[in-house]
Symmetry: C2
Subunit: 107 residues, 2 copies
């Protein structure tokens, strides 16, 4: 069972994909065509990236006629935030341990 961090980090590791997500965060809902126009890669490539982003829960799609609108789901970033603060937390915890140790040594 690959944890959610894994999918999240792997999904956001690609610059093109991250740019698409950023764009959706900045400017809101976009059609595939609009995203393709600025992505610098072909339309199938954009569709594939959107598929990966959707799989990771980072975007939602909405079909309207023959076009598909995608919008960002920034809430899906929370595991990433959790992980980051956990790492920082471990760091501080160990720092506190060191402080305790120094205090005890000081006595």
């Amino acid at each position: 069972m690959p944890d959610s961090h894994d999918m999240l980090f792997r999904t956001l590791a690609d610059p093109t994909r991250r740019a698409i997500f950023e764009r959706l965060c900045r400017d809101g809902e976009q059609t595939v065509g609009a995203l393709t126009a600025r992505a610098g890669v072909s339309q199938p490539a954009v569709s594939k990236h959107l598929g990966v982003l959707k799989q990771a829960g980072l975007v939602r799609d909405r079909h309207q006629g023959r076009q598909t609108h995608y919008c960002a789901q920034p809430g899906a970033l929370s595991p990433l935030i959790d992980w980051t603060s956990q790492m920082a937390g471990f760091w501080e915890a160990r720092f506190d341990d060191l402080e305790d140790l120094l205090k005890r040594m000081d006595q």
Copy 2:
């Protein structure tokens, strides 16, 4: 010019590498041998991962005799935190815009 986000995301995308970093955050400074013992991959693989982590600024090394000690530098995660909150920020800004719009429509 690949921004620092890029290197950071790419570095943390690999599960083995991320596990090594997590371990250094949790348990503090470790030798290559100690890390290899729990990494599930060969020593050269661990050394390569540590090289990548170091390149990204996520770890520091300290040579002592014939062994090398590595420790995490969680401060290097800050661009990642910045990026994440920026994405969330864009989201909220657009939400505020929507609120403004609705307010104006309400008048």
